[in-house]
C-alpha cells in the first residue's frame, strides 16, 4: 500500500496540517470557501509522494552543490539546487540547506495552480512560503518567547513588496548549524531562497576557535548528515558582550552582502538575547507594539 501522509484540518477549521516523515506543514488559505477547499485538496494531492520523490535523489541532494550545473531531476530538488547555487562557489553548501523552503513553495504553488486565493501561506517548520493578492498584507512578528512580554519586532509584507518567503535558521533547529546564532530570520523573494540564505547567514554568525563553543563532527551525530565531518555547533557557553557583537557583526556582514546581491530582502540575527536587523525598512521596535498589546489586554 502506498504510504499516505497525514492530513487533517486543525480544530480552528481553517488551517491544514500535513505530515510525512520529517516534514510537517501548516497551511492556511484565505479566499472563497470553494477555492480554499480546492486549494487544500491540491495541497494534499501534491504532498502525497513528495517525500518519496525527494528521497529518490537524496544521495545527490546531500552532496555539495555545483554552482554552475544541476543534474537533479525533480522539480523540488532543482529548486533546492537553484536556491543554494549562488552560495556554492564560495562555500560548502548542499541543496539540503533549502529543502524546507522548497517544499513549502511547491505546496503553495500547487494550491495557487487550482484556486484563486487572496492570501495563503505554507509553513514548513518555520520556513514559510507566502502568497499575497493585490492589496493584501502579512504581518510577521519576532517574539522572544510565547509567554514573554510581547513581540520584539514586527514587519509587514505588503502585496507590492517582493517578500514571498520567510525562513529561520539557527543552532537550536533540527538541522545542524556551523555557526552559533540562536536564530537568523530571513525575508526573501521565495521561501527556498530565504531558507538557503538563513542557513548561510546563521553559519556566518560565529567566533571561530572560541573555547566556550562546543563543536562536533556532524556525522558523529547523524551518520548520513549532508555536512559530513564538518564541525557543527552543539553548545555555546557564556560570551561577553563584545564577543556577541563580533559574532553578530560577522553574520550581518554576510547578510549585507546577500542583500546587496539581491538574494534577500532583510534579515534579523539573534544571539544570546541580542538582535541585529539588516535591511528591512519596516521593522519597528517592539516596544510600541507591546504597549499596544498591553492596552488590548487592559481593555479585554
Amino acid at each position: 500500500m502506498k504510504r499516505l501522509p497525514q492530513a487533517a484540518l486543525l480544530p480552528d477549521g481553517k488551517r491544514l496540517h500535513l505530515h510525512d516523515g520529517p516534514i510537517d506543514l501548516i497551511v492556511e488559505a484565505k479566499g472563497k470557501e470553494a477555492e480554499i477547499h480546492a486549494a487544500y485538496q491540491a495541497a494534499v494531492r501534491r504532498f502525497t509522494g513528495l517525500l518519496d520523490e525527494l528521497c529518490e535523489e537524496l544521495e545527490e541532494l546531500r552532496h555539495a552543490a555545483d554552482p554552475a550545473r544541476c543534474a537533479l531531476k525533480g522539480v523540488v530538488a532543482r529548486r533546492m539546487h537553484a536556491a543554494v547555487a549562488p552560495f556554492a562557489a564560495d562555500c560548502f553548501v548542499t541543496p539540503m540547506a533549502a529543502v524546507a523552503g522548497s517544499v513549502a513553495e511547491e505546496i503553495l504553488g500547487a494550491m495557487l495552480g487550482v484556486a484563486q486565493l487572496t492570501r495563503a501561506y505554507v509553513n514548513n517548520g518555520g520556513d514559510i512560503a507566502l502568497h499575497l493578492a493585490d492589496g493584501e498584507q502579512f504581518t510577521v512578528g519576532l517574539m522572544d518567547r510565547p509567554d514573554g512580554d510581547g513581540l520584539l519586532r514586527t514587519t509587514i509584507a505588503h502585496a507590492d513588496d517582493p517578500i514571498r518567503g520567510i525562513a529561520t535558521s539557527g543552532r537550536h533547529g533540527r538541522s545542524f548549524s556551523l555557526g552559533i546564532a540562536d536564530a537568523v530570520t530571513v525575508l526573501a523573494r521565495t521561501a527556498s531562497q530565504a531558507d538557503a540564505a538563513a542557513t548561510i547567514i546563521a553559519n556566518a554568525v560565529d567566533l571561530p576557535g572560541h573555547p566556550a563553543i562546543v563543536r562536533c563532527p556532524a556525522n558523529a551525530l547523524q551518520p548520513d548528515s549532508d555536512l559530513g565531518a564538518r564541525l557543527v555547533t552543539r553548545d555555546v557557553g557564556e560570551l561577553c558582550a563584545s564577543e556577541i557583537e563580533d559574532a553578530l557583526d560577522a553574520g550581518s556582514r554576510r547578510a549585507r552582502q546577500l542583500l546587496a546581491a539581491g538574494l534577500i530582502e532583510g534579515a534579523a540575527l539573534r544571539l544570546h538575547g541580542e538582535t541585529v536587523v539588516v535591511g528591512t525598512t519596516e521593522t519597528r521596535q517592539s516596544r510600541q507594539l507591546h504597549n499596544r498589546a498591553l492596552e488590548h489586554a487592559m481593555h479585554a
Binding site: R3, L4, Q6, A7, A8, L9, L10, P11, D12, G13, R15, H17, H19, G21, P22, D24, I26, E28, L51, D52, C55, L58, N123, G125, G126, I128, F138, T139, V140, G141, L142, M143, D144, R145, P146, D147, L151, L152, T154, I166, T168, S169, G170, R171, H172, G173, R174, D182, A183, T185, A220, L221, Q222, P223, D224, R270, T275, L289, A293, H296
Partner: protein, 483 residues
C-alpha cells in the same frame, strides 16, 4: 517501546525505514525527523510531540473513531488497542524549536516567529512518598541539583508529600532553575530516579513505582497505622505474651497498658512513664523530634522516649516490647531489680507479632502524579467555540486520557488533570527547552458528540487506517492498570 517499523542494524547504527529518508541512526541519537531514535539498538518512537496545551488548539489528531456503532465507553472499540497522543505526529513544528512560527493571530499579527525554543506550560508533579521518616518541615524548599524545584507540602496518611514544578519554578526563577525543574519533572514523570534534597531535612531519591531512598536507606514499608492505631490493631495478639508494648511514632506513640484497647483487655498498669505530651490515655504526641530513626523520630535508642518506671506499680522481671509503626525497628526488654529496662532476646511469639506488623505494612512506594492544565489556551484558542470542549469534558461526554491512562480532571475551570505516570507508556513525556514539559493528552468522545462539538467530521479516520500507516506502537497491556 518497539515500533512496528522495522530497522536493520549496521554496526552499532540502525537504519530506520519509517519513511523513505531511511536515516542511519547511531545509538542514543534520533533520525532526521527527531521522532525515531536508536535506543540500545532498537528503533523506538521518541516523540510525545503532542504538547499538552496545544493538542486541542493546534489540532492534535484526536483519538480516532469507528465509522459506525455507538461508543461502548472504551477509549476505542478494540479493547486491546489504546490509541494515544504519544507520537501522534507533531501538530506543530515544535521539533525545530528555536525559531518557530506560531500560525495564530496575536495582536493582529498573522504570524509570529519565536526566536527562543518551545512552549510554555503550566504543569508539575505531586509526589507521595510512603515513609514516616522525617523528610523536612512543611513548606521547606525541595531542591534538585541545588536548584529549587518545589516544596514539602502537607503530609498524608503514612506519607510525606512534595509538590514540584509549577509555573514559578519553570519560568519564574533563574534559567538554570527552570531547566533543572524541567529535567526533574520529566525524569520523575518518565519513572526515572531523581535525587531531591530538602532544606533542613533529608535527601531522598524518588522514583515512581519504587521505594523511596531516604538519606541513602531504601524505605521498605509503609506503616499500617499510627502508633496508637497499631496498639488497637494488635493488642489482642500481645495479651498474655508481654506486659507492656510501646509503638514508637513521630505522630502518635501508643502505650498498650494505658491505651483504651489495653483497658478493654484488662491489661494491668506497668508504671511506665512516657516523655512527650499525652493526648488521651495511652496516646502521646511529640515523644521525640522527627527524624529518620525509629517510627519517623530521630531516636536510635527507643528507651530515650521513656522516663523511669514508677516503683509503686512496676516490678522487676516485667517485660516490654518496643516497636516502630512499620515493625522495622523492634526491641524486647525486661526490667532488672532497679526497674531499668534491659534489652533481651525477643521471644519467638513476639517476633511473630512484629512480623505481623511488617506484613500489614504495605510496600513503601513513591508515586508521582503529573498535573497539567489544558485550559488557558483552550479559552484563548482558535477553535470556533473551544469552551464547548471544556464543557464536554465536565459533562463527562468527553473522556480525557493521558498516554492512554485514566486521568482525574479537577472540577472548576479549564481542563486541569492529574495522571499516575506509572500507568503511562515508557518515555511518554518530553520537553521543550522553553522550558516546558510535553505530555500526551487524548480526548475521546462519541462521534455524534464530536459532530455536535463542531468536530471535523471529514477527517475522522477509522482505526484500521492507522494500522496501515506505521503509526501504531504496541504497548504492553498490563491487566488492571489501564481502565
Amino acid at each position: 517501546m518497539v515500533t512496528d517499523t522495522t530497522s536493520a542494524a549496521i554496526g552499532d547504527k540502525i537504519r530506520c525505514d519509517a519513511c523513505p529518508v531511511m536515516c542511519y541512526i547511531k545509538p542514543g541519537a534520533a533520525g532526521a525527523c527527531d521522532r525515531y531514535a536508536n535506543h540500545d539498538g532498537q528503533l523506538v518512537r521518541v516523540d510525545p510531540h503532542v504538547v499538552l496545551e496545544r493538542t486541542v488548539s493546534h489540532g492534535g489528531r484526536l483519538v480516532p473513531f469507528q465509522a459506525g456503532g455507538d461508543w461502548d465507553g472504551k477509549i476505542v472499540h478494540e479493547p486491546s488497542i489504546v490509541v494515544t497522543a504519544i507520537g501522534a505526529g507533531t501538530t506543530y513544528p515544535d521539533y525545530k524549536p528555536a525559531p518557530f512560527i506560531v500560525s495564530s493571530e496575536i495582536d493582529g499579527v498573522d504570524m509570529v516567529t519565536v526566536v527562543t525554543e518551545g512552549i510554555f506550560s503550566y504543569c508539575g508533579v505531586k509526589v507521595k512518598i510512603d515513609t514516616d521518616r522525617y523528610l523536612g518541615p512543611e513548606t521547606a524548599t525541595v531542591r534538585a541539583q541545588g536548584e529549587a524545584v518545589g516544596h514539602v507540602t502537607t503530609g498524608e496518611y503514612g506519607s510525606q508529600m512534595l509538590s514540584l514544578g509549577g509555573v514559578h519554578h519553570l519560568t519564574g526563577g533563574s534559567k538554570k532553575e527552570g531547566r533543572v525543574t524541567c529535567d526533574a519533572l520529566m525524569d520523575l514523570s518518565n519513572c526515572k530516579p531523581v535525587e531531591l534534597s530538602i532544606d533542613g531535612g533529608a535527601t531522598v531519591v524518588v522514583r515512581a513505582g519504587h521505594p523511596p531512598v531516604v538519606n541513602g536507606v531504601a524505605e521498605e514499608r509503609m506503616r499500617v497505622g499510627c502508633g496508637s492505631a497499631t496498639i488497637g490493631m494488635f493488642a489482642k495478639q500481645w495479651r498474655g505474651k508481654v506486659d507492656e508494648v510501646v509503638v514508637v511514632d513521630d505522630h502518635i506513640t501508643g502505650v498498650l497498658s494505658e491505651h483504651q484497647a489495653g483497658k478493654l483487655l484488662d491489661i494491668p498498669d506497668t508504671g511506665i512513664k512516657m516523655r512527650g505530651r499525652r493526648s488521651t490515655p495511652g496516646r502521646y504526641f511529640q515523644v521525640a523530634e522527627p527524624g529518620t530513626g525509629w517510627g519517623g523520630t530521630r531516636i536510635s535508642d527507643p528507651l530515650s522516649v521513656l522516663g523511669p518506671f514508677d516503683p509503686k506499680t512496676a516490678r522487676p522481671g516485667m517485660t516490654m516490647l518496643m516497636v516502630s509503626t512499620t515493625g522495622e525497628h523492634a526491641a524486647y526488654y525486661e526490667l532488672d531489680a532497679a526497674l531499668r529496662p534491659i534489652e533481651k532476646q525477643m521471644p519467638p511469639d513476639l517476633k511473630l507479632s512484629v512480623e505481623r506488623i511488617q506484613e500489614n505494612c504495605e510496600p513503601a512506594l513513591c508515586t508521582v502524579l503529573f498535573m497539567g492544565g489544558a485550559g488557558g489556551s483552550l479559552r484563548a484558542g482558535v477553535t470556533d467555540n473551544p469552551v464547548r470542549l471544556t464543557r464536554s469534558v465536565k459533562d463527562a461526554l468527553t473522556r480525557v486520557t493521558s498516554g492512554g491512562a485514566p486521568v482525574y480532571v479537577w472540577p472548576g475551570g479549564g481542563i486541569t488533570f492529574m495522571v499516575d505516570v506509572t500507568q503511562m507508556p515508557a518515555g511518554a513525556f518530553g520537553y521543550v527547552p522553553t522550558p516546558a514539559l510535553v505530555a500526551p493528552i487524548e480526548f475521546t468522545l462519541k462521534l455524534s458528540d464530536y459532530a455536535a462539538l463542531g468536530g471535523h467530521m471529514d477527517f475522522v479516520r477509522p482505526l484500521a487506517s492507522l494500522r496501515d500507516s506505521a503509526e501504531i506502537r504496541p504497548m504492553p497491556y498490563i491487566p488492571g492498570r489501564r481502565a
